[in-house]
Subunit: 191 residues, 2 copies
């Protein structure tokens, strides 16, 4: 039994929590209360990128030794024309630097919430969660929780590949806001 | 009737040429002969990124006023861990700078050749060609040639989005060389 702590209860956190419980694992939702205990083996930072620093300030010490999952798409939402992280880096890299005692993964940022809740991209394509990270054990743990919940995942490589995953998330968001794709659709990984 | 000149006769150039002729438009294949005439309204640089500079040196003057399509994935193929273009740029941006009198588009780099030849990603998903560029007319011209050939395309935005398209191509190649996806598969855009 794996416990997953989800910080944030928006549509992404809710969808991820649904997968975890569908697989028979435990979920706890954590708010912004800095005194809240965090019991999860995996902690999902299910907040927007601008809120991540605040979450780390509130909870960072309790994340040591845990698998921490960054799901953010760090867009400049005013211009929709760039990311707000360094061009040769990623939100995940920024978070990993802030949490040196945690195993940071990038995951879920290429999945719209509806594709996680429904486990399909559009009508027919299976949802796949890309997982990037430098710890094979951490990636395997998250992958096993997803598999238990019936959701496919793929090892996208080292945490450095978060840069490419964030590029996919960025482009996918620009296509969705222009209504070129639906919010229940986007990029499906076909094997 | 649109004429498309394709420089390079590898599997990508061949597949793109097949789409053009399927739509009733003209194709001419151009080799490295610097004296060759280039008659196309659209010129596809269907060579690997390391060969692009040589192609531009040979043919660049003849590309003025034309739509030039960059299909490259500028990977460091020794490390498979980075691109060889500036982190805040793209191969398309490098090419556009070298060809200021051309309308440069990024397209096809997220499509494996077999997905263009067969018009499907894997068994069931439709192929979509992402087209990024700063000229709406140029994007519409290429899109119409693809549509005539039965292949869907999407306007991926300004040429700056080539950076994200190259990130997708990069990640897709890393997944294929590790046999996590097939060379007839990869990212499908579901609407």
């Amino acid at each position: 039994m794996t416990t997953v702590s989800i910080i944030g209860n928006g549509n992404m956190g809710t969808a991820i929590g649904g997968i975890v419980t569908a697989g028979g694992n435990n979920v706890e939702f954590i708010g912004r209360d800095a005194d809240a205990a965090i019991n999860g083996d995996i902690v999902v930072l299910a907040v927007g990128y601008p809120a991540v620093a605040e979450v780390i300030a509130a909870h960072g010490d309790k994340l040591a030794g845990k698998v921490v999952v960054d799901i953010t798409n760090p867009l400049n939402f005013e211009t929709f024309d760039s990311l707000v992280v360094p061009a040769d880096g990623s939100a995940a890299a920024v978070i990993a630097e802030a949490l040196p005692a945690s195993s940071v993964l990038k995951a879920f940022n290429t999945n719209f919430a509806a594709t996680l809740a429904g486990n399909t991209v559009g009508d027919n394509a299976a949802t796949t969660v890309h997982i990037a990270g430098d710890s094979a054990d951490a990636k395997a743990l998250l992958g096993s929780v997803l598999q238990a919940g019936g959701v496919a995942s793929v090892d996208a490589g080292a945490l450095a590949r978060a840069r490419e995953l964030e590029a996919i998330g960025f482009l996918q968001l620009t296509l969705a806001v222009q209504e070129k794709i639906g919010w229940n659709a986007g990029f499906a990984l076909i094997k």
